[in-house]
Amino acid sequence: MNTRHLVIAVAVALLMGALSLAFGRFGAYMVNAVAIAGIGALSLNLLIGYGGQISFAQGALLGVGAYTAGNISNAGGDGLLAILGAGVMGAIISALIGIPALRLRGLYFAIATLAAQAILEYLFKILDPITNGVSGLVIRPTTILGIPMTSDRSLVVPSLVILVIVWVAVSRLMRIDLGRSFLVLRESEIVAKGMGIDVAHAKILAFFASGFIAGLAGALAGFANRLASPEAFTLDLSADYIAMIIIGGLGTWTGPLIGAAFVVLLPEAIQRVGEAAGLSDILSPLRELAFGLLIILFLIFEPRGLTALLSRLKPRSLAVPAPGAVPATGESLPP
């Protein structure tokens, strides 16, 4: 276990906890949103940043988690059970999505995940008994280990705890054989094969692990919104998550969380600044414009993301080179 990572993760979580206390219910909601997005981004980073498997189905996977957790919790299951159940279901569906990856690579697989996203979205809408169709599944306030989760503030605690666990677990994962084989896989399947790595096994496990974490994030999102609705888990959400890990820094340890905070908070920041500047009428498009432009500019000028940008601003930073820190050439990213 890398104690440094553990210390940083706990410190960040404590800071976020403090912020959620300092800024009222809305602040708690936003902190919760950042934590959930961070967990989701960690999961996608595991798949894309470390494993090199591009997926556009992350949004739908979160949905799987939200519906699963909602159903378990509504049926009277404890919130923790619901969250774990969501993780397992996310892992299973993710592994199913990953099966084509055994035959398809790169672009073809990325397009196949578009199909997975579309099909899952469709299933959310028509599988009435499980998902309550287009109306969305209303999730009653849950209890976690007997503690009722009725407010945005109470939900911050499980979210932050799970964030820390996932964050540290990913760091640890990249220090065991399985994580190392993900990295080799990302560089080249042929090399991985030659090195005696069981490529199919490693790939499916990458999807499984990533899906498990995505399921957790989905469950937390469901509890936060008290609703799992097909409208919430669309391709747009998948794109948001990809944006997070790219903006944060693909294949880095801190990148996903930084990217998540950025993508979640930026629209709100623009909104408030815009309102203060009297631009209310065109704020929505401005927010979109800024978001789109930032993605483009980042990709062109700082492809290694905010992590790299920040560590350049502050040479003596807390920057921890992740096991899979992206090299300067940028060539080691997935093909």
């Binding site: 677990a169 640890r172 994962l173 065991i176 054989d177 399985l178 190392r180 084989s181 990295l183 080799v184 560089e187 080249s188 090399v191 094969k193 030659g194 090195m195 005696g196 790595i197 069981d198 490529v199 096994h201 496990l205 294949g251 096991p323 899979g324 820190a325 992206v326 090299p327 050439t329 060539e331 080691s332």
Partner: protein
């Protein structure tokens, strides 16, 4: 004989790359595989290591058929290989690569990934440092990402990875290509050393004749996908046919 290959044939499209190739290797023996470019040496190695699937033939290792097994299965059976070109695995450190190699060892496989998660690997690290990296002069760079190393050292890392599996059959694909002659001789020393320590069989594809002559116990010459000669280094050097085909003499 522990490795017995017979009638190995593989075609790519209409081109016959390896035709009815036969080879036998005993434990502790270093066999050099030489021949002109395009003779099918690497292709043959690829067949043995599971990268390619030959159309016909058998490759038996201690009585077990190897053909049709995946590289990962082969590695677990004790067959390891190195590559002609070192892969650009930027992010991993030397030690990471060595650990990946070691993961194929039987004693490392119990418990699976979940157990790995909670298991300290400092003992393994020490062992790899002492047993593998130290002899290859890689101990000082063990924690460096391999992208920071010179080409020669990266080749050594590749060998370290293969050795970390403690193989019984080691397939070396041009281990000294691209190295300086000093580095090359050092590498040859390491190979012999390893053979002595592990007692493994080694097949070595190589172009550098001085290294081959000084390292190998026996040499097999290939041309146009087939074996054309087999013998001790001195015999190979003396054979006129080999000289004609391989060294371009009349």
């Amino acid at each position: 004989m522990s490795l017995v290959a017979r009638e190995v044939t593989i075609r790519f499209g209409g081109v016959i790359a390896v035709e009815r190739m036969a080879l036998e290797v005993s434990p502790g023996e270093i066999v050099g595989l030489i021949g002109p470019n395009g003779a099918g040496k690497t292709t043959f190695i690829n067949c043995v290591s599971g990268t390619y699937r030959p159309h016909t033939g058998t490759v038996r290792w201690l009585g077990d058929e190897l053909l049709g097994l995946s590289p990962s299965t082969l590695l677990r059976k004790g067959v390891a290989r190195t590559f002609q070109n070192v892969a650009s695995l930027h992010d991993l450190t030397v030690l990471d690569i060595a650990k990946l190699g070691a993961s194929a060892r039987k004693d490392r496989q119990s418990g699976g990934h979940l157990l790995d998660f909670f298991r300290s690997d400092s003992a393994l690290e020490r062992e790899l440092l002492e047993q593998i990296l130290e002899p290859l002069e890689l101990a000082d760079v063990a924690h460096k990402p391999i992208q920071t190393l010179s080409y020669g050292r990266r080749k050594a890392v590749d060998l370290a990875r293969a050795l970390a599996a403690y193989p019984q059959l080691l397939l070396l694909d041009e281990p000294v290509a691209g190295l300086t002659s000093h580095e090359g001789m050092a590498m040859a020393g390491v190979v012999r050393n390893v053979r002595d320590r592990l007692g493994c069989a080694v097949i070595m594809v190589e172009h550098k004749m001085d290294v081959v002559m000084s390292t190998c116990d026996r040499i097999v010459v290939m041309a146009a996908g087939s074996k054309i000669f087999e013998g001790l280094p001195a015999e190979v050097q003396a054979d006129p046919e080999v000289r004609r085909v391989y060294l371009g003499e009349p």
